[in-house]
């Protein structure tokens, strides 16, 4: 393991993660000593419209993958319409590779609760929900405890801190469906239905939860709000790049010496991140990686110096996504990796639309055939053709995301596919696994 150079170390910007080192930061007493709920008191002195403007000025963009400007989203909520408004926090973390929201909710749940109160005040919502992934049981324990503590201290409930503002917050556990991370599927699930995406428009900003104006934001987005309120928009913009402002938690996993969470300003490169993580594991050299979870097209060693912000990653032909960088080496097979991801999308497809439901089902079978050494050259065309029919034709982003690793691995690693087909690579799967129509 090598020590990172000082100029690389200087890129670390612990903001959202900074309380994780305080073992009791999940308790309200400790949280209050560490600037906790100071932003809320400050926010209540301002007009809600000014808070929306502040978030617009800060350039904060959604941390859940799409990078939509948060202030703009809040501004879409019609005010004075006589309808109840809702804030829903998307804590259904499940994108393969992504593991940043669970530690945040486990070790610093009050920062999320405080963000929820400020955001609800800004958009004039009197009811908020945190939809947390069902499997995230310890994070949910801490979060429920934090909500109870906040009620007991008067940060939630009626007339919060004498401001006249009321807010009820419910932590709602999901039940094991990746699709519920899609915002409209999440809303359907929260209403007690199967989690299937809705046709848009209308958008949640006008017809969201219970057909009322609703803001759906990721955990990281909402947890950023108290810091922006305290430090101001200019401070927030002093981190990150011009169009992608602020710090971001990068989750490194795979073939590096020290996988883990590294919070840096947006725009750091993978080369720098790997340096922070102590380099590649001995005997491994970088072959392919995802910039933001498995739904983002793979990148390769030639992209080591791409700044990881929303614009530059898009220019490199991928998506920043959730900044979950999964790092694979020359000892890992991109064909097999793609196959395993497709198994995931096949399992998690909600079945509502045909391209995603059928496309993923059949692509899994084509991959099994290739990996069992029985693939043909035609299979590669079939895969690309299938992807063409899924991408942009699916109801929601799940189908689109499923094609990312297929098309990008075929683009960069076609030779690996050909090696299976032409018998240069030993079959990875046994042909006993090829039952039924293959």
């Amino acid at each position: 393991m090598t020590t990172p150079r000082p100029e690389t170390l200087a890129k670390l910007t612990p903001v959202l993660t900074k309380r994780w080192l305080s073992p009791d930061a999940w308790r309200i007493g400790t949280y209050e000593k560490l600037d906790g709920y100071a932003a809320l008191r400050k926010a209540f002195k301002a007009h809600p419209d000014d808070l929306i403007q502040l978030i617009k000025d800060s350039g904060l963009r959604g941390r859940g993958g799409a990078g939509f400007p948060t202030g703009l989203k809040w501004g879409f909520i019609p005010q004075g319409d006589g309808k109840p408004h809702y804030l829903v926090v998307n804590a259904d973390e499940g994108e393969p590779g992504t593991c940043k929201d669970l530690p945040l909710m486990t070790h610093d749940p009050h920062s999320l609760v405080e963000g929820v109160i400020i955001a609800s005040y800004a958009i004039r919502a009197n009811r908020a929900y945190i939809y947390i992934r069902g499997e995230a049981v310890h994070a949910a324990r801490r979060l429920r405890n934090a909500v109870n503590e906040a009620y007991a201290k008067g940060y939630l409930g009626r007339n919060i801190l004498g401001s006249g503002f009321d807010l009820d917050l419910v932590v709602h556990s999901g039940a094991g469906a990746y699709i519920c991370g899609e915002e409209t599927a999440l809303l359907d699930s929260l209403e007690g239905f199967r989690g299937q995406p809705r046709l848009r428009p209308p958008f949640p900003a006008t017809h969201g939860l219970y057909a009322s104006p609703t803001v759906v934001n990721n955990v990281g987005t909402i947890a950023s709000v108290p810091y922006i309120v305290l430090g101001g928009a200019d401070w927030w913009k002093s981190m990150g790049t011009e169009k992608s402002s602020g710090p971001m938690i990068y989750s490194l996993s795979g073939r590096v010496v020290n996988p883990g969470q590294y919070e840096c300003g947006l725009g750091i490169t993978l080369r720098e991140l790997i340096e922070l993580a102590g380099g590649m594991q001995p005997g491994h050299s970088l072959k392919f990686w995802t910039p933001g979870g498995s739904s983002t097209p793979l990148l390769t060693a030639e992209h080591l110096d791409v700044p990881l912000d929303f614009e530059e990653v898009a220019a490199a032909g991928s998506i920043l996504g959730t900044t979950a960088t999964q790092i694979f080496s020359d000892q890992d097979c991109p064909v097999y990796a793609t196959y395993r991801w497709l198994e995931f999308y096949h399992h998690e497809s909600c079945g509502k639309c045909t391209p995603c439901r059928e496309g993923n089902y059949w692509m899994v079978r084509v991959y099994r055939r290739i990996l069992a050494g029985q693939g043909t050259h035609e299979d590669l065309d079939t895969l690309l053709d299938t992807c063409d029919n899924i991408l942009g034709r699916s109801f929601c982003g799940l189908g689109d995301g499923a094609t990312s690793s297929v098309t990008s691995s075929l683009k960069y690693f076609k030779q690996d596919y050909l090696d299976y087909i032409e018998g240069r690579t030993a079959p990875r799967l046994s042909d006993k696994q090829l039952v039924g129509a293959h």
């Binding site: 170390l9 670390l12 612990p14 993660t17 900074k18 994780w20 080192l21 100071a38 400050k42 002195k45 301002a46 007009h47 809600p48 000025d57 309808k83 109840p84 499940g94 593991c99 929201d101 530690p103 486990t106 070790h107 005040y121 004039r124 009197n126 009811r127 499997e135 995230a136 049981v137 310890h138 324990r141 429920r144 405890n145 006249g164 419910v170 709602h172 999901g174 039940a175 094991g176 209403e191 239905f193 199967r194 989690g195 017809h207 219970y210 810091y227 305290l230 401070w235 490194l252 996993s253 795979g254 996988p259 883990g260 969470q261 993580a277 999964q326 990796a337 395993r340 991801w341 995931f344």
Partner: protein, 344 residues
């Protein structure tokens, strides 16, 4: 109708009270966790219970229960052992761990050992890739496992031990966990405090600490509205839209529509068509919409008319029903023959 305890019924009322009064269907997911907490899986009785307390019919509840992976359709063991076999964990050895456990326990995916202790499953990304390969027991993490540690772990569980998870709280059974999933606090003394953050979670922070790096400092008095003479004063009574007790309706329904009709309209706000998912078999588009209770009456009538299916037989596929169909067909045939005869 069902054997659920009074405590479960009281908890069900508590769950429903968390949501707006006219949006009780939102309570369905936690209620399904609740019935799973009592029975270890979502049984037909559990589905009926949820339907009863929410005024839905069993088909509506069953359709939701069958969509989500965490609702088990068969009795489960005390310990749900989930091994991540998604790409990253698989590459790091997760598939080997799963295969070894399956062989050691003699069960496959979503199957329970003969002693009823352990249910095994392979999972799709448990959101702990920096700790891979990972497995969970009742959703609490065991990090960086290999085939041997995994086998030791399940052996300890079968011997009655409760191994300590790497980061989460001390283990509780799947039924106890389901109570928490239904939204109730973990009442075990100190369980919330259990678990320290793992090294991967803290790595970036430690590095910054060791080298004295921190994010740029800020002035907590930075104005919220930059470049302005002063902030707009907060309104005297800001953002007071509706009363918000936990049982208060968010807004008085202007037209007394049922939540189902309204939810369906959410998806197509301008549609005037009938809503197939609404309670009852017919949905009038004008006049009084059916109340949720109608769904139960309609369902009872339907159940009386159609005997439930026996073992492995499709509904209605019993001798009596076939005989009835046959006689109905015959009488229709005779009737139409008579008609023809009359015409002659």
């Amino acid at each position: 109708m069902t054997a659920f305890t009074d405590e479960t019924r009281a908890r069900a009322r508590e769950i429903i009270a968390r949501y707006p009064a006219d949006r009780s269907r939102s309570a369905l997911l936690p209620l399904l966790h609740l019935v799973q907490a009592e029975e270890g899986y979502v049984s037909p009785a559990g589905v009926a219970f949820c339907a009863e307390v929410l005024g839905l019919n069993k088909a509506q509840v069953g359709a939701v229960a069958s969509f989500y992976t965490m609702y088990k359709r068969r009795p489960t063991g005390d310990w749900l052992v989930s091994v991540c076999t998604n790409t990253m964990c698989d590459v790091l050895g997760g598939q080997k761990v799963y295969d070894t456990l399956a062989e050691h326990l003699g069960v496959g995916h979503d199957e329970t050992t003969a002693d009823g202790k352990i249910t095994l499953e392979h999972a799709e990304c448990l959101a702990a890739c920096d700790y891979g390969p990972v497995m969970t027991v009742n959703y609490d993490y065991f990090d960086g496992v290999d085939p041997q540690t995994a086998v030791d772990l399940v052996d300890e569980l079968r011997a009655g031990g409760r191994p300590t998870p790497s980061r989460g709280a001390r283990l509780c059974t799947l039924k106890e966990m389901s109570i928490q999933l239904a939204g109730f606090a973990d009442e075990r003394e100190g369980a919330v405090a259990d678990g320290v953050p793992g090294e991967p979670t803290l790595r970036g922070l430690r590095l910054a600490q060791q080298h004295g790096i921190s994010a740029p400092g800020f002035d907590p008095n930075a104005p919220i509205r930059s470049g302005q003479a002063g902030d707009k004063p907060a309104p005297a009574t800001p953002a007071k839209a509706a009363p918000t007790g936990s049982t208060a309706p968010d807004v008085p329904a202007p037209d007394r529509k049922s939540p189902q009709v309204r939810t369906a309209e959410t998806r197509q706000p301008d549609a005037k068509t009938a809503v197939p998912d609404a309670p009852g078999t017919r949905v009038p588009t004008g006049g009084t919409p059916p109340t949720p209770r109608d769904a139960q009456a309609a369902e009872a009538a339907g159940a009386a008319a159609n005997k439930p299916a026996g073992d492995a037989k499709p509904a209605g596929d019993d001798a009596e029903a076939q005989k009835r169909n046959l006689s109905e067909a015959e009488s229709t045939a005779i009737g139409s023959a008579n008609d023809k005869g009359a015409k002659k």
